[in-house]
């Protein structure tokens, strides 16, 4: 654990009187997969959405504490949201393609960033679709509408689209929960390949997935960070009573 470009300090999120996250402090290691693990309703997704400030879109939400990304608190007033969000790719539970062609989905980010050269855009599309293990399946039909792809393919397209914005961090919110086993496997493999270049935060409630992918595990329960440890240590020698119960399947 040398470099951390994300550090969460005393962070709470409340809706009215209900708090989804309570005083969470956590440093997220670079170039590794950090799994946010926990039963549903424990604040996992809230944490993820706090990182790219999508939480701002929820009305009447109260945020306390700090999240430091690259040395700056992202909740400071002068933070530009589009710039912040470009640093972080987001993979949702259910893939959400944009209502355009496959090609236009991938190059949407680059185009937004001012790249106009057609040849360059073509190359980028191929590069990122290849990274997401989708290129071979769609190379002959990249001008077809994206919604015609299968759900599994759509999720990989969303990954390619996110990567094309050239983020440093990938936020994944149960990205395989809506997918068939084969597509899930491909997405998981891609994430494992990507971790050498990206800081990946993966939300899941599936223990086995956390074991397969996680380098570090942060276990959340009822809005609190219960335990944070390297994966091996977490599974072999959990310190907290609640962690042990969750690993054994006693709480879910």
């Amino acid at each position: 654990m040398v470099n951390e470009h994300i550090e969460i300090r005393n962070f709470s999120v409340c809706y009215g009187k209900e708090c989804a996250l309570k005083n969470v402090s956590l440093k997220i290691p670079n170039n590794a997969i950090t799994v946010i693990l926990g039963p549903s309703g424990c604040g996992k997704s809230t944490l993820l959405k706090s990182l790219n400030r999508l939480i701002d879109e929820v009305e009447d939400v109260r945020v306390e504490g700090e999240i430091i990304v690259d040395g700056k608190n992202i909740y400071d007033k002068d933070v530009k949201l589009p710039e912040l969000r470009k640093k972080m790719g987001l993979l949702l539970q259910k893939p959400q393609v944009l209502p355009f062609s496959i090609y236009k989905n991938v190059i949407f980010g680059p185009k937004l960033n001012g790249i106009k050269d057609k040849k360059k855009l073509r190359e980028m599309a191929q590069k990122y679709l290849t990274m997401a293990h989708l290129w071979e399946e769609v190379k002959d039909r990249i001008y077809e509408p994206a919604h015609k792809l299968s759900i599994g393919q759509q999720q990989r397209l969303c990954l390619a689209r996110g990567l094309a914005v050239e983020p440093e961090i990938l936020l994944c919110d149960e990205p395989t929960s809506a997918l068939d086993p084969l597509s899930s496997k491909k997405v998981e493999e891609t994430l494992l390949e990507l971790k050498k270049d990206y800081t990946i935060i993966l939300v899941t409630h599936i223990l086995r997935q956390a074991k397969r992918l996680g380098d570090f595990i942060a276990f959340f329960y009822l809005g609190e960070l219960v335990e944070f440890a390297p994966a091996k240590e977490f599974f072999e020698n959990p310190k907290d009573e609640r962690t042990r119960a969750y690993i054994k399947g006693e709480i879910s």
């Binding site: 879109e57 589009p82 710039e83 470009k86 987001l90 949702l92 959400q96």
Partner: protein, 277 residues
């Protein structure tokens, strides 16, 4: 046993309402069709009314067809241009309490009979020193369709899945870019049908243009002179005691229906094409 009986009863009721619906639609179309078809001719559709047209003289209602098309399309265009930014504002920017206030208010506007808009339009007209004219008719009609088009656009924006919002924002789009670059495309088919529905409403409305657009036998050549329109032609023709003349009202209605049907077919075609893309 009891449950099956009840279910059968309800299915029967559904079929009954279907039968009533079909009967009504069928009799509406057939009665207008058969009463109007004998008066429908090339001259009726494509020529100007003669001086004695409303007393049984020759000529046709071409200027009113054009007048109605101009009235309906211009008012729809104005209402659309006005409601698009507002619908984006209330569905994406403002707090939900304010948005709901606007929505309730617009629903209230929608409930106001169009004759009231007509009177209001007349009032504005006098205030601005306008005569009964094409312009006054367009302005008044745009009041009539504005709530309809605003609420449809608002519904469309609200029905965009939240995840599309998340996906767009996470790519680094600003809210405005998201609305314009992604959402407009996502709601395009619905937007088109909203426009066409409002066009259909505008072309059929008579009360609002009664005082404001005036009446004339001429083509709508100037914004500041009165215009002819189909609903009012139907009204004036049908008021005639002469059967020869009141029959023409059915022919004019037939034309009005034909335009409406044409518009709805086109809107579906275009909608499908955009959706299929």
């Amino acid at each position: 046993m009891e449950r099956i009986k009840r279910e059968k009863l309800f299915v029967l009721l559904m079929k009954l309402s279907l039968a009533i619906f079909l009967l009504l639609t069928f009799s509406l179309f057939t009665s207008i069709f058969f009463k109007g078809i004998s008066f429908l001719s090339f001259e009726m559709v494509f020529s100007k009314p003669s001086r004695g047209f409303y007393m049984g003289g020759g000529g046709g209602i071409f200027p009113s067809i054009i007048g109605s098309l101009v009235l309906a399309s211009s008012s729809t265009a104005i209402a659309f241009l006005l409601s698009l930014p507002l619908s984006i504002f209330i569905s994406l920017y403002s707090r939900s309490t304010f948005s709901n206030f606007v929505r309730n208010f617009v629903d209230l506007l929608w409930g106001i009979p169009s004759i009231v808009y007509g009177i209001f339009g007349f009032f504005i007209m006098i205030y601005l020193g306008l005569k009964a004219s094409l312009l006054a008719g367009i302005i008044t009609l745009s009041f009539v369709v504005f709530p309809l088009i605003l609420r449809s656009l608002d519904e469309l924006f609200q029905n965009v899945p939240f995840s599309l919002k998340e996906a767009s924002l996470s790519l680094g789009l600003s809210k405005f870019q998201m609305a314009v670059k992604v959402f407009l495309k996502a709601i395009a088919p619905g937007m088109l049908s909203a426009i066409l529905i409002s066009f259909g409403r505008a072309i059929g409305d008579s009360a609002s243009i009664l005082f404001t657009a005036g009446f004339s036998d001429n083509f709508p050549i100037s914004l500041f002179s009165p215009t002819s329109s189909l609903p009012l032609v139907v009204f004036y023709l049908y008021s005639s005691p002469d059967e020869e003349v009141s029959g023409r009202a059915y022919a004019a209605s037939l034309i009005l229906i034909a335009i409406a049907v044409f518009i709805s077919i086109i809107s579906r075609r275009i909608g499908k094409r955009i959706y299929g893309k």
